[in-house]
């Protein structure tokens, strides 16, 4: 497992296109929301500033890393490396988890640079070093679960459908499942299994959208799928993180069987 972790991390981190894509998106975002950024830097509360930063990272960047992680598992067969790896005595489950955690970790590196870069900038300009502590907490509780959730699907779903198709569907899903208001159509947004993290953002960090007055999580009147939107509390926020990680593990556990289907 460590072997796969180390090398999958290295290979994913060496993808120049991943760095370029993240860089371009962030640059664009920075330009489009320049006034928002200055607002954020002027924001008196370190907690609010860091939380809106995490929200923004989680809103946009999963689209990038979801697409970049989509080839990680299927490429072993495409490249023809799979027979070599499969003929070693290393356990399939260990290799799979190493690959998953390694490539997710590599995908999280640009996020960390961007997000902690923002945190350091804020801490320096606003003079609130506590921002770094908030940033660390948000990274662990909001950004990383999204990476693990998206990563599991990105690795496994391309075993069923071609990776390019997955990317298109994934981008569609991302905005449908995270940012559409639930009264418009049935959606997973504002629910426990919304990887953008509405429950933890709202309940653990008191986030209320850019204006501070938006309800992110919890039941919505006249919306379908409200059974996935229990009342928002700190407990359901932690539950939401647990659900995201459990779904990720479940999806991953299907990988060996799905692979066997195509290669045996």
């Amino acid at each position: 497992m460590t072997a796969a972790f180390v090398y999958e991390f290295r290979m994913q981190a060496r993808k120049r296109s991943m760095w370029i894509a993240n860089g371009v998106i962030v640059a664009l975002l920075g330009l489009l929301t320049a006034n928002l950024l200055t607002d954020a830097l002027d924001e008196p509360s370190a907690k609010v500033a860091m939380t809106s930063g995490a929200f923004l990272v989680n809103l946009i960047l999963p689209v990038v890393y979801g697409c970049f992680l989509a080839d990680r598992l299927v490429r072993d067969d495409k490249l023809g490396v799979a027979p070599i790896l499969d003929a070693t005595p290393a356990s399939t489950a260990g290799r799979l988890s190493g690959k998953y955690l390694g490539s997710c970790a590599a995908a999280a590196v640009p996020l960390a640079i961007i997000y902690f870069g923002f945190a350091v900038l804020y801490a320096a300009t606003a003079g609130h070093p506590v921002a770094l502590a908030w940033a660390a907490a948000l990274f662990a509780v909001v950004i990383l679960p999204a990476v693990l959730f998206v990563g599991a699907f990105a690795l496994v779903v391309p075993l069923l459908i071609p990776a390019p198709l997955f990317r298109v569907l994934f981008v569609g899903y991302w905005f449908w499942g995270n940012s559409i208001h639930p009264t418009l159509m049935p959606t997973l947004s504002q629910s426990l299994i919304s990887p953008i993290g509405p429950y933890p953002l709202q309940e653990l960090f008191g986030y209320g959208g850019p204006g501070g007055d938006v309800v992110l999580a919890g039941p919505v009147d006249d919306a379908t799928l409200n059974f996935l939107r229990p009342a928002a509390t700190a407990a359901t926020a932690w539950l939401s993180i647990g659900v995201l990680l459990a779904v990720a593990a479940l999806v991953l556990s299907a990988a060996p069987a799905l692979r066997a289907r195509t290669t045996r």
């Binding site: 460590t2 072997a3 796969a4 180390v6 090398y7 290295r10 290979m11 060496r14 993808k15 495409k78 490249l79 023809g80 490396v81 799979a82 027979p83 070599i84 790896l85 499969d86 003929a87 070693t88 005595p89 290393a90 290799r95 290669t263 045996r264």
Partner: protein, 295 residues
Amino acid sequence: MRIEISGLVKTYKGKGRALDGLDLLVPTGMFGLLGANGAGKTTLMRILAGLLRPTGGEVRIGGYDVTGRAGRQAVQRVLGYLPQDLGVYPDLSAREFLDYVGLLKGIDDRATRRRRVGELLEVVALTGDADRRLRGYSGGMRRRVGIAQALLADPRLLIVDEPTAGLDPEERIRFRTLLSQLAGERTVLLSTHIVDDVAQTCRELAVLAKGRLVFRGTVDDLTRRADRRVWSVVTAGPAPTGGTVVSALPVEGGLRYRVVASVPPAPDAEPLAPTLEDGYLALAQPGAAEDAMRP
């Protein structure tokens, strides 16, 4: 390590049988595997390497049943496998790739692994390019990385599927010699289309056709199948019929044909001493197949 195969059947989804009730015993030492395209060589090797589950039959390697999880792991611990369609990670260097495979093979000690990887890079003559990304490697260089990877953990069982395809003559001869040297106590199963590689390295071999065993014996046995069946004919006219043309060489007065046929293809045909390749070709001819299984 002996490989004992009995009644082995493999059916791919929606296809005929790739292996059709194969019985074969592979002893310790170097053993050749020949057969036309699609004969089932790769399928057999993938089953032996634990990559493919057979549809039926039994396979025991050194006493382990490779179809079970425990047996498969036990075999894979002593296995070196070079797949036919071999790939590498383009974004790693040869040294890194070998280090990765070494880790997966359980060479946990870092210093041992480094030393081993270095030795094998030397063996396959890639030391100079070892730290370049594999993306820029030629086909033959990649195959050499594949060879090195198969030898990493000092395997007692080596399964190599067309290892010399794409190698230059010098490398090919170096590698096949290396294989024979390694054989000794080990079992080396070599599949190839280069009959001469088998003739130069193996004492025993098997020939598959359409998933069945059509020959198993020594190189001399197979060569003798072509006794009194190899002819040399010089003609400026049409190619001789009624046999398999092995070669056609331009000479004064036309072409000199080497023909494997049960009767002389022309009145002035001269008999020649057979090679293993002639024996292999004779096997596919009517008359030879019937007595092919004769011990």
